[in-house]
């Protein structure tokens, strides 16, 4: 069954977008949105932000959240202990062997048990490099696990998956396309993502639309709305276009004035020139607004105060993580991205910003662990855990934990099987949701059965959740996970069905996964 999207409503929004593109934004758009039915949050005075942490390359959820009941762990160990470089992590309680190679499972020690409220009759653990998240899950209860999430058009059983008539998402297992489907529900080429759609619906709450959908990690289709355009901010703040501190270029004011006109206008009539000019205009406008609104990165909220203004993020202890591959401290670029997100959130009520609802995007690459998975994945898990804990600490210092929810997303999960030193492209995977408004300390969704590989075939007959190479068929769709977040963000039921095109195909009782308070 094809998802049903209210056509008139989508059309209406698109027309509103077209109007604003023609320079008739403002009033007509606001009127249209009001006519479409206003969400509760559109009059809300509170502040909320959603932060997407994208793990580029396809994260191996099998080694991030592990079932440690005897049968599951035995199958995990058997499937993943392959020569020449076994990638099975060790069981709970195994002490780290400090004589073993850096990054190896022996050196890391056993997986770290977690205590979900609902055990599903099993036991669970996190990757050994995630001690800070284990504490956040067990003690702080600000971290939840959503089990076996992925791109789906409708609920899909193992039998249905292989039926030609059953609608599966297009281009499964393809990096660029699955990244896009996670972000936009369409393969590469899509221009409207669900973060951006939420921003469309909430932008009227903000004084300036430009500060509604913000990336600290390059262009991301997730952030693009029908009307809202994403704004990209540098790790240290907005980058000033060519002028010095006195507003001059080569010591000249007339050159600076001409520059502003030249880069924001176009005289040649070419479409690409006009699009470039629009980006430069946003760059200049936003930088002026943010110049004084952002606190310095070494403010105690987000960094370690530096003497004499000599802040060096590469040496800020708050941004350094324990690198399991070297045994030393290393700079965490993901934490650095989350630092500017925290600074933006802190500045959200500042003059010239005035934001009540914001969506942010950060990301790190390297998750395509076809080889050398032990060392590489341990490093990524350590960086992710450190960055999330750093962000939680910063929000805590700001008193903003309850207003901000962060979640992980990724191209896809990976194969359960090993190729000798790594894993290949999969489908469903486990994800984290973090924040003060998260009902943490629990696992949401039925945790999949991890079967044994059959001698005669590659179909993992003993698991209803696994297909070839032990890839997971997602139990929870991106739509369901996104809708649960979006409901907290303030979208109405009607809006949820509009933003999440496949949500209608899932039972009404399962459209809210319950992990948000």
């Amino acid at each position: 069954m094809k998802p049903l999207t209210p056509p008139s409503r989508r059309l209406f929004l698109r027309q509103a977008g077209a109007l604003s593109a023609l320079g008739m934004a403002g009033a007509p758009l606001a009127l249209n949105l009001a006519a479409l039915g206003s969400a509760a949050a559109q009059t809300a005075a509170d502040y909320k932000a959603l932060v997407c942490i994208f793990l580029y390359g396809g994260n191996d959820g099998f080694s991030m959240v592990l079932p440690t009941d005897a049968a599951s762990f035995a199958n995990y160990t058997a499937v993943r202990n392959q020569m020449p470089d076994p990638i099975a992590l060790l069981g709970p309680g195994v002490p780290a062997n400090l004589a073993a190679a850096l990054g190896s499972p022996e050196r890391l020690g056993g997986v770290l048990p977690i205590n979900p409220l609902n055990t599903q009759g099993r036991s669970f653990a996190l990757h050994p490099a995630m001690a800070s998240l284990r504490n956040m899950f067990n003690n702080d209860k600000r971290l939840a696990v959503v089990a076996n999430v992925g791109t789906l058009i409708q609920p899909t059983s193992k039998t249905q998956y292989s039926q030609a008539s059953h609608p599966n998402p297009p281009r499964l297992f393809s990096h660029n396309d699955q990244q896009n489907i996670w972000q936009t529900f369409k393969p590469e080429g899509a221009t409207v993502g669900w973060g951006g759609r939420m921003a469309d619906l909430m932008a009227s709450q903000n004084t300036r639309a430009i500060f509604t959908a913000i990336s600290a990690s390059g262009n991301a289709s997730w952030l693009s709305g029908e009307t809202v355009k994403q704004y990209q901010i540098g790790a240290n703040g907005a980058v000033r276009l060519a002028t010095d501190a006195n507003g001059l270029i080569y010591g000249s004011a007339v050159v600076a004035e001409a520059m502003a006109r030249i880069v924001t206008g176009t005289r040649g009539g070419h479409v690409m020139e006009a699009d470039l000019a629009a980006v430069s205009k946003r760059a200049i406008d936003a930088e002026v607004s943010l110049r004084n609104a952002l606190k310095a990165p070494d403010h105690a909220y987000f960094g370690t105060p530096a003497a004499n203004g000599g802040y060096d993020p590469n040496n800020d202890p708050k941004l350094l993580y324990d690198n399991p591959g070297t045994g030393a401290k290393s700079f965490n670029s993901l934490a650095r991205q989350l630092q500017i997100v925290a600074r933006m959130i802190d500045a959200s009520d500042g003059a010239g910003v005035g934001a009540k609802r914001q969506v942010f995007f950060v990301g790190i690459g390297g998750f395509d662990t076809h080889d050398r998975q032990n060392r590489n994945h341990a490093d990524l898990m350590a960086r992710l855990a450190h960055a999330m804990r750093y962000f939680d600490n910063s929000l805590g210092a700001m008193g903003a934990r309850n207003k901000v929810t962060a979640f992980t997303a990724s191209d896809f999960g990976r194969t359960f099987t090993s190729n000798g030193d790594g894993t290949d492209h999969g489908w469903g995977s486990h994800h984290f949701v973090m924040g003060g408004a998260v009902k943490g300390g629990d696992i949401y969704g039925d945790f999949p059965v991890l079967g044994a590989k059959n001698a005669g075939n590659n179909n993992f007959d003993s698991s209803p959740n696994q297909i070839g190479n032990g890839c997971l068929i997602p139990e929870i769709s991106v739509d369901q996970m996104g809708a649960t977040l979006a409901r907290w963000f303030g979208l109405t039921d009607t809006q949820l069905l509009d933003v999440f095109p496949n949500l209608v195909n899932f039972d009404a009782s399962k459209r809210n996964l319950g992990f948000m308070s």
Partner: protein, 603 residues
């Protein structure tokens, strides 16, 4: 004046000297590598020469437009040559130019680095700087521009440390693309598939056959990406590049089963090794401490013991069970299957058009390039020279509209500027290095793409733009956002003022204390008090197709409003004031042109 002489001397002298030095350094490795690349022979078909050129450009502006597509930036010399030879013969002339050898640069510069200190190596910079050297000063411009395009299709990246740790081999990989990129596609694909740098990048080296007892599976990385990115793409295509639709839906070219089948072919490949085919050679590239010093350059070798012996099915091809396992036969069957797939012509042809000429070619344009791929006119399939001719000589490559052309990536914006003004390297080593930083530099470094999906996807549609509303793709917009839009202008501001590349203090015993690449702006400085003439000169160099009148007027007026160079006192005591005022005017005129959206779009 002294400065100008010195510059010219360093640039020219450096090249000659390095040529000699690297000739001495030519190793058996390189000879071996070159022989390997030549081994399968190129399909060459040239237009009948000798006839009078029939396609002389109508104007120098037209010649410059063509050169923007075919080189790293138009120069006076190349415009003259195109005007003399016509488009077709200029292309043939370029094909015949001696090939820049990146491996030679890398080895020469690495020797210098090693001489400077124990344990030193030129490393990744040797690859990147050699790229800049050939882009700025190489005689084989067309070959290197095509190689730059191919390096963004057949991606290996030094962001991966197994690749960056073998940078000498990356230089060799770039040579392979430059060489076979104008040979046959089949040889190019084989060279790519068997190069150890691809082996490391897409984890096909040391990859073992499945173990049915333990459940180990072959690594699928190269099998998947070689189909998706290097040959046939995800959808069945019509000859004009449009998707073939069945019941209104595109048809996927391969399934998971095809990937698993092809993955078996790419098992059992490892390094060339003196004790081949010992287990130790397969597993560790060495046996008893003995290894091939050129194992990272030489094509990977098939080790039958580790190669899947069972039946392999993919894309309708069936390789029967082999006893003994025969990796070379499996490879041939696989690459032949990929090369013969009807998608390759439109899939590869469209991307080359996008990289050289226009982001949004018409179906007719793609069809003509695909036809040249399918048959070069002499019944030969996959002749890359025929493909390049078809890309550059199609009537739509000569036409312009408000949507044609492409957004120059940051590297091409810089090379176009440097070539137009004859920048030369003080050291002769084009010391540019890493330009990854998106705030302080270009946000990209050649041969350092973030993933195998390159810096820019050919299908990228920039959200919320006029281009998107018109249904256009603009691949290079993928890296354009508020940060990079600003940082590009900042980078050019400093490049215009200080030069390009890394800072040198002493060069050949002379204290230069400046960036490595410098230009002689004496002709422009002489026009500093004549904004009209200054803009004539700058627009002719940077926008030879014509600067829009509004832009021209804006810049010319601005220069006129800047502080005028005062008259020089007879004593010369105000020389610096005069020089600074002139230089500021020239700098501003250059920067305002380079910053304009009009310059950034290659039309």
């Amino acid at each position: 004046m002294v400065l100008a002489t010195l510059l010219a001397g360093c640039g020219g002298g450096g090249d000659t000297e390095l040529g000699g030095a690297s000739a001495n350094l030519t190793t058996s490795a390189q000879q071996q590598a070159d022989r390997t690349m030549d081994g399968n022979g190129e399909q060459i078909s040239k237009r009948a020469l000798g006839a009078a050129p029939s396609d002389i450009p109508a104007s120098r502006a037209e010649a410059a437009r063509f050169l923007a597509q075919a080189t790293f930036g138009a120069t006076e010399a190349h415009i003259n040559k195109v005007m003399a030879l016509g488009y077709s013969d200029w292309i043939e002339d370029q094909f015949a130019k001696p090939r820049s050898i990146h491996l030679e640069d890398w080895e020469a510069w690495d020797a210098l680095a090693k001489a400077s200190g124990a344990g030193s190596t030129i490393g990744q910079d040797g690859v990147v700087n050699s790229f800049w050297k050939s882009a700025i000063s190489g005689p084989d411009q067309l070959r290197q521009r095509v190689a730059y395009a191919l390096a963004q299709i057949f991606v290996v990246s030094m962001q991966e440390d197994t690749v960056s740790g073998n940078s000498r081999a990356v230089a060799h990989y770039l040579d392979l693309l430059a060489h076979r990129g104008l040979g046959s596609y089949r040889n190019l694909l084989e060279g790519v598939a068997m190069h150890p740098m691809m082996g490391f990048y897409l984890s096909s080296i040391h990859n073992r056959k499945a173990d049915p007892v333990t459940g180990r599976m072959p690594d699928e990385n190269f099998a998947r990406e070689s189909m998706q990115l290097f040959s046939i793409g995800l959808h069945e295509l019509q000859p004009n590049g449009e998707p073939r639709l069945v019941n209104g839906k595109p048809v996927e070219t391969f399934t998971s089963a095809d990937i698993s089948g092809l993955a078996k072919v790419f098992t059992g490949w490892s390094s060339a090794c003196p004790a081949y085919p010992s287990d130790s050679c397969f597993l560790t590239d060495a046996a008893n401490g003995s290894y091939d010093p050129d194992r990272r350059l030489k094509p990977m070798v098939g080790y039958p013991k580790y190669h899947a012996f069972e039946e392999k099915r993919f894309l309708g091809t069936v390789i029967a069970p082999q006893s003994p396992p025969d990796p070379q036969a499996s490879l041939k069957a696989a690459l032949d299957t990929l090369e013969q797939h009807p998608n390759v012509g439109p899939f590869l042809g469209k991307q080359l058009i996008q990289k050289l000429v226009t982001s949004n070619p018409s179906p007719e344009y793609v069809a003509s390039v695909a036809a040249a791929f399918n048959d070069n006119g002499q019944g030969v399939r996959g002749d890359m020279k025929a493909v390049v001719r078809a890309v550059l000589l199609h009537p739509q490559a000569r036409a312009t509209s408000s949507t044609s052309g492409l957004l120059r990536d940051p590297v091409l914006r810089v090379t176009t500027f440097l070539r137009a003004f004859g920048y030369a390297s003080d050291t002769g080593r084009f010391r540019v290095g890493n330009t990854d930083n998106a705030v302080s530099s270009l946000g990209m470094t050649p041969l350092r793409a973030p993933t195998v999906f390159n810096f820019h996807r050919p299908g990228y549609v920039p959200p919320g733009t006029q281009a998107a509303a018109l249904g256009l793709v603009v691949p290079e917009m993928q890296s354009v956002q508020e940060t990079t839009a600003a940082s590009y202008v900042n980078v050019m501001r400093d490049t215009v003022a200080y030069g390009w590349g890394q800072h040198n203090v002493m060069v050949n015993g002379v204290n230069l204390n400046r960036r490595d690449l410098q230009a002689d702006f004496s002709a422009e400085l002489a026009l500093a008090d004549r904004p009209d003439l200054l803009m004539d000169r700058i627009s002719a160099k940077l926008m030879p197709g014509g600067m829009p009148a509004g832009l021209r007027a804006e810049i010319e007026t601005t220069i006129g409003k800047m502080k005028a160079p005062p008259a020089l006192y007879p004593s010369g005591s105000n020389q610096k004031l005069v020089d600074d005022a002139k230089r500021n005017r020239v700098n501003a005129a250059l920067l305002l042109t380079l910053a304009s959206p009009e310059y950034q779009v290659q039309k």
